[in-house]
């Protein structure tokens, strides 16, 4: 009897250990310095002459902290509504230009004087994702959700109310608590912009060729491009690929996320409801910087050359000249993962169909008039830049351009190894959960996800290791 018990215990222990060996683990955020955040080699070589100063100037301005009216360095125009006060406060991980950091700066805004009269929204936490919020639908005049009135615009989290540099302007925050209780709220995390200049410099015909090359897949993937409503060309930046260029991307973010009017978006931005329902911003919340509009302009009398640019152009140059994130080694449970494992994971990633959408190289760039590193360069973005139906599990009921509520741009995976928060709303930090969440009713990714499930645990681990090498 004693022997039988011992045998049973041994068997159970072996089963437990076998289970541990088979369990797949997300290696997690890789901490080593991979050199992410540097400029392209031709920029670092200052080729053409003078261009390096445009990168460094843009990089500095990207980190400037904006005030409403009394900044001694002239960084004025914040608000009256905003999500943050600096580009780099959101685009921070693992370097300036990235995505949200481990510590969310938005959590401190109500206590550090940035938004003294506001309440920290319930979904903003100290160690959670840096977020913007949107209400899919407007509210009726009785406060119920109006399903006939899609909203989808950004609901700024904070206001300048009570700041010493904001005069008498006092604004209410949107009704985040009610929206949360009614399920009428969705979130987005910042997209990293490393290598964005390469994506910008992909010709439409290259993207169309890549689409055709991936059409004949046996994994049920379709896909479409989002397109500019004015000229019909392919748009490519943002979670729904709704923006065409880095200039527009920067100009819109400066206006929407920080409330700073600029040459591309020349007015202060009310909330979607204040704008659509014809109330606008109150007059004592306009022109708070005292400079007139737009608050960000080019500076004709400034020197050196880079200082002549407006902030938006400087931001665009910084993003455009940022090199893509280098790949790097992976540490799993304290052990270095072998290069052969990473290589095997790469092959598996492609074999099971992930690369139909997360295309390792959708093409090479057109000739660039900026710098040689942007010319005829492979774009190893792991994205086809198309929007795909992602089903009910990921749908956010927000339409942008031609993309509907369930369509998202294939998120470029370069730099994934050092991202903390995953998927469009940062709902998870676990790569396995992020992969699982690709399946759902109406998702184009269901068969690929099923192929992932058809792999052995060892093979699945190889894919996870490979993804954290990016």
């Amino acid at each position: 009897m004693k022997t039988a018990k011992r045998a049973l215990g041994f068997t159970l222990a072996m089963l437990f250990l076998a289970g541990m060996a088979l369990a797949q683990t997300d290696p997690g955020v890789q901490s080593g310095n991979r050199g992410t955040g540097a400029a392209f080699s031709s920029i670092l070589s200052n080729s053409p002459s003078g261009i390096l100063s445009f990168f460094t100037d843009g990089q500095k301005r990207f980190q400037d902290v904006e005030s409403v009216s009394n900044s001694p360095s002239g960084n004025n125009g914040l608000g009256p509504r905003f999500n943050s006060n600096s580009c780099s406060s959101c685009h921070a991980q693992p370097a300036v230009g990235g995505t949200g950091a481990a510590m969310n700066p938005q959590f401190s805004f109500t206590s550090n004087g940035t938004a003294p009269k506001d309440t920290t929204p319930y979904f903003i936490t100290a160690t959670g994702p840096t977020l913007e919020a949107r209400f899919p639908f407007f509210f009726n005049s009785n406060g119920t959700v109006n399903y006939n009135a899609p909203n989808g615009g950004v609901e700024n989290l904070f206001t300048v109310s009570g700041r010493s540099d904001a005069g008498t302007c006092s604004l209410p925050q949107p009704s985040f608590n009610t929206a949360g209780n009614e399920g009428n709220i969705i979130f987005r995390i910042p997209t990293p912009v490393f290598g964005a200049g390469l994506i910008e410099n992909l010709d439409d015909s290259t993207l169309l060729n890549n689409q055709l090359n991936n059409f004949n897949n046996n994994v049920g993937v379709g896909g479409a491009f989002n397109r500019n409503g004015n000229d019909g060309t392919i748009t490519r930046f943002g979670w729904k690929a709704q923006n065409k260029s880095l200039h527009i991307f920067a100009g819109e973010a400066y206006n929407v996320e920080m409330g700073i009017s600029n040459e591309l978006f020349p007015q202060d931005r009310p909330l979607p409801g204040e704008d659509q329902l014809q109330t606008g911003l109150p007059s004592n919340c306009l022109n708070l910087s005292g400079t007139g509009y737009p608050e960000d302009t080019s500076n004709p009398a400034s020197t050196p050359n880079s200082a002549v640019l407006d902030d938006v152009s400087a931001f665009a140059n910084f993003m455009r000249f940022l090199a893509p994130p280098p790949t790097g080694g992976v540490v799993l449970n304290g052990q270095q993962v072998s290069s052969s494992t990473i290589s095997a994971g790469s092959s598996l990633f492609s074999s099971i169909g992930c690369s139909v959408c997360h295309n390792p190289t959708p093409g090479t760039t057109q000739v660039s008039n900026f710098t040689s590193s942007l010319s005829k360069a492979p774009v190893n973005a792991f994205s086809d830049i198309e929007v795909h139906h992602m089903g009910t599990g990921l749908a956010d009921n927000v339409s942008q351009g031609n993309a509907g509520g369930d369509q998202f741009r294939t998120a470029p995976l370069w730099g994934l190894g050092q991202r903390i928060f995953l998927l469009h709303d940062g709902r998870t930090t676990n790569l396995i959960t992020a992969i699982d969440d690709h399946e759902g009713n109406g998702s184009e990714a269901n068969t690929v996800e099923s192929n992932f499930d058809n792999l052995t645990p060892t093979q699945q681990q190889e894919i996870l290791d490979f993804l954290r090498s990016l």
């Binding site: 005049s141 598996l348 009910t392």
Partner: protein, 342 residues
Amino acid sequence: MHSRWLYCSLALVWWVVSPAHGQNVKAQTPSRNGGDFSDNVQPGNKVPTGVILVKGAWASASDSVTPLPEGGNVTNSVFTNQYFGMSYALPANWAEKYKGPPPSDSGRYVLTQITPAATFKGPARGTILITAQDLFFTPLPASNAVELAGYSKDHLQADYKVEMPPTPTRIADRSFTFFAYWSPAAQLHWYVLTTDIRCHAVEIVLTSRDTKLLESLTLDLNKMKLPAEASATGGTGGDGVPVCIKNYARDENLLTRVDPIFTEHRFNPVPVRIIIDTEGKIKHIHFLSAFPDQEKIVTDALKQWRFKPYRQGGQAVEVETGLRFGSGGYRMPLAAATAPTD
């Protein structure tokens, strides 16, 4: 006392008549309800989860009676699709876990995807994917299932090796093309069975690491019920359905044509499948992908179209064909698709 009353009255008058003041008060203290504001939580009014309420370009049809390619479903472990005349009893312990996406603007359909249920027992899992490619809208140089299978084999990506080149076979008493390949890295095998049914190439894709499972699933497909094989009078869809003719809406077949003019959404392809009745009128419109404003404009235009009735063996018969409006679709290959599927 008197002066205090006068002061208060003047202040009240100033408050009422001052437009700037009134505007500020209104703007700074907006209603707590409406737009971005609400303090009215209504438990029954929650935004439903698991539903896509805000859609982009989507599929729709002019009537709810005519069967649609995407209209199949799994009920009581049987997949049925009225448009394709298909019925397939799922293998034991297999189920449709999730519905597929809407049709693509290039005419690709995920009809169903079947995976092992939790009760499945076997050395390796697998996947059964049934898709259809509308041959009116494919960007590939293929006009039937055989050509599509050949294209697949010739354009197989470097990750895969051919196990069996496209080979004629019969499944459920119908002609199929069988094509097999595998991934040495993933040790996964793909068995692809393709056949022509009613203007489409229908593909059944079986995937697993376990080839015995794949063989068993292939044999099991013989239990499927499929429409009769193409005949001289029945086109590829079998008897009782319209004749499929690609590019039928040519000038020589059209008596009246009114072009739709898009005003709001303009830069997306709008593939439309129509059925023309024996008098030359359009009796059914199926939008594979369109925005609501485009649906209305196309419908209003197509109501006015008149075709010469199509005759086969001296009899007027219904025709099914495809039209493509809008712009911005797939880049078409240099070698265009050849013959119609008639």
